[in-house]
């Protein structure tokens, strides 16, 4: 393991702007003053992912975790900032280099039904990319695909089937096989087990753990389910409305959350109860990213919010060795 992180997310932001349509532009010419709407999906995130670790990324819907994952996988470009793969900026590489770097980072999506081509057989879904990129020759591809299917726990005889002929858990495995086929060393898992039944979810989680050891993979594991993330991750990053609010070692972060938002998330992990439990929820809902609250984004829902939180954006800083948190409360204690 080298000191250079596999993936370095350096002050990355992503903005989505809805451009004005012709009617609105015409209205503006007449003085209506309609403004373009911009969503800050990801807002100045810095995160280093070291080789061989599993980085968990949690947050509620709309917090920008999937957008960040897509940028890491190279599926969309950051509006600001850079994403470095082994210390190198992909946009500064030559085309051939950039392609090789892109191959090393693969993504496993949430819904295999919408990410697998329904008209292709599994052997083509899994076998196409390695063939195109010259990883295997045309003659060896069938054996190669069968080998990978076996690795992910699918019967090699299923290679001639179409995606709809599989159950949900098997489709998840096909998605994983496709990602593995180009020999990546980094995999972005975006809610890869969210749609599965618990017993199947356990099987797929175990598969992820096994593959990581076998192929020395590094994961960015994105999920809204803190329980799942805690189980598989070494470190956990918590996002809220586009910003990173806390980062730390998985067990430590769950045992002693620093940020009030993490605290609330941890408190609401469903656990097995033998007694009736009193649910005490944090109030309010995640605000619209179109119009985020001033200062600390979490302040309208935070039980400890005070004047400063409304005005000043808290900076992510080290509160304990290896633990970063963005909360003003840390300055006062």
């Amino acid at each position: 393991m080298t000191d250079t992180p596999v993936i370095e997310i350096d002050d990355v932001s992503k903005r989505f702007t809805r451009h004005l349509d012709i009617a609105e532009r015409t209205a503006n010419r007449l003085g209506a003053g309609i403004k373009e709407q911009t969503v800050h999906a990801v807002d100045g995130v810095r995160l280093n992912i070291r080789g061989g670790e599993v980085m968990g990324l949690v947050g509620e819907s709309g917090c920008g975790k999937s957008t960040l994952g897509r940028m890491v996988a190279g599926l969309s470009e950051p509006s600001d900032g850079r994403i470095l793969y082994r210390g190198q900026d992909r946009s500064a590489m030559s085309r051939a280099e950039a392609r090789n770097a892109a191959l090393k980072v693969q993504m496993v999506f949430q819904d295999p039904m919408s990410s697998l081509n329904p008209r292709l057989r599994v052997r083509d879904i899994v076998g196409e990319a390695p063939q195109v990129h010259g990883i295997v020759g045309r003659r060896e591809v069938a054996a190669y695909v069968e080998d990978i299917l076996e690795q992910v726990g699918l019967d090699p005889s299923t290679a001639k089937r179409y995606p709809h002929q599989f159950s949900g858990g098997q489709r998840a495995r096909v998605g994983i096989a496709r990602a593995l086929a180009v020999k990546p060393d980094f995999i972005v898992c975006d809610e890869s087990v969210a749609a599965l039944d618990v017993s199947i979810q356990a099987q797929v989680l175990n598969l992820f753990v096994r593959l990581r050891e076998e192929f020395e993979l590094t994961y960015l594991f994105i999920s809204h389910d803190l329980g799942v993330v805690e189980h598989i991750s070494d470190r956990i990053a918590v996002m809220y409305l586009g910003r990173l609010v806390e980062l730390g070692a998985a067990e430590d972060l769950l045992k002693q959350p620093n940020h009030p938002y993490t605290e609330a998330l941890v408190a609401e992990i469903p656990t097995f109860e033998t007694e009736k439990r009193i649910y005490s929820a944090i109030k309010g809902e995640i605000p619209s990213p179109l119009n985020p609250p001033s200062g600390c984004h979490f302040h309208p829902r935070c039980p400890h919010a005070h004047e400063r939180c409304r005005k000043e954006v808290p900076v992510l800083k080290e509160v304990a060795p290896g633990r970063l948190s963005a909360c003003h409360l840390n300055d006062e204690a």
Partner: protein, 330 residues
């Protein structure tokens, strides 16, 4: 006093090209007034179809092929659609996973709520509106007057689910059937909805059937749990009993599959294989092909037997009894 709900040998079947799928096969269940029952199972276990059967919402090609559903002593299956119409929305209400199944996207919230009130109560529009407003306040919606004027698409997912719950509460029903109402919601919103449902049921003495695939979510809420597999109940008992001492291997497997509280980074205990197709169910115990404790004795399907007081299990080798080789001294 009669039980609020008694289901005897319910059979709900779907006719398909490939044969008859018995989605619910011989299910018996009862529920007291004010009791919260968690109905747990994975996809295809028949838990939702059970809920739909109680409310008479099974559409062709599906039909309730047999059994009796007694609600407060009245047979809902024999009573047919006419009797059901009087109860549905008034004494039995349902909350769906997707609130847009309850809400009409082209009508304002007030129109929909007033319609529901007036369907079962002879009140003026003004009185109905006041009741709708109260219901919204009870589920924790702020500024209810403006919210009544809004359309469903103007609400967030969590708010929509609250509106759906408010509609279910309009007539203060005796029984609410909630079909995975928090599955699509974020954890913080899920906790809000759970705490509100808990408070509302305690206040009004409403009985609740909470259908879910997530044992952990329902364990803090329910008095009793019933675990379903392949259209049948395989274990039923108090929440405390089932969580602390699961008897059926499937229940135990489900509890062990959940990552919470397991040692970090280790492999989870998994149930091998996958849920069988309802069209090709194995002979005997339906769980036997996936079961680590199965042997020849599992060939005839075991009945749902009372093993302890209030605890019914459908298994010949429950976890409370050591297997032959385990019992042998080593």
């Amino acid at each position: 006093m009669t039980k609020l709900l008694e289901i005897h040998d319910l059979q709900t079947q779907f006719h398909t090209r490939d044969g008859i799928a018995k989605a619910v096969d011989g299910l018996s269940l009862s529920l007291d007034r004010g009791e919260i029952l968690g109905l747990v199972g994975e996809s295809g276990s028949g838990k939702s179809v059970t809920g739909f059967s109680i409310l008479g919402l099974v559409d062709p090609p599906g039909r309730v092929a047999g059994g009796r559903i007694l609600f407060d002593g009245e047979d809902l299956v024999a009573g047919g659609e006419k009797a059901m119409k009087k109860l549905r929305g008034k004494r039995i209400a349902m909350i769906f996973q997707d609130p847009m199944m309850t809400l009409n996207p082209v009508l304002r919230i007030d129109t929909q709520m007033v319609e529901t009130v007036q369907a079962h109560a002879d009140v003026s529009r003004k009185a109905a509106l006041a009741r709708a407003r109260d219901a919204l306040v009870r589920v924790g919606i702020s500024s209810p007057d403006e919210r009544l004027q809004a359309y469903p698409h103007q609400f967030s997912g969590g708010m929509r689910q609250r509106v759906a719950i408010a509609i279910a509460l309009l007539h203060e029903p005796d029984l609410i059937i909630a079909d995975e109402p928090t599955t699509a919601l974020d954890v913080t919103i899920q906790a809000q909805i759970l705490s509100e449902m808990q408070a509302l049921c305690a206040q009004s003495g409403t009985a609740l059937i909470w259908i879910t695939h997530d044992l952990a979510v329902v364990s803090g809420l329910a008095d009793r749990l019933a675990v379903m597999y392949a259209g049948r109940i395989i274990e039923e008992g108090t929440t405390a009993g089932i969580i602390s001492k699961p008897m059926h291997p499937y229940t135990k497997g489900l509890i062990e599959s959940v990552p919470q509280g397991k040692e970090h980074g280790t492999l989870l205990r998994q149930i091998k294989g996958m849920t069988p197709s309802l069209l090709k169910l194995p002979e005997g115990c339906k769980f036997a092909p996936r079961c680590p404790r199965a042997d020849a004795a599992c060939k005839p399907e075991p009945p749902l037997e009372e093993r302890e007081t209030g605890r019914r299990v459908r298994c010949v080798h429950p976890h409370t009894e050591p297997l032959a080789e385990e019992a042998a001294p080593t």
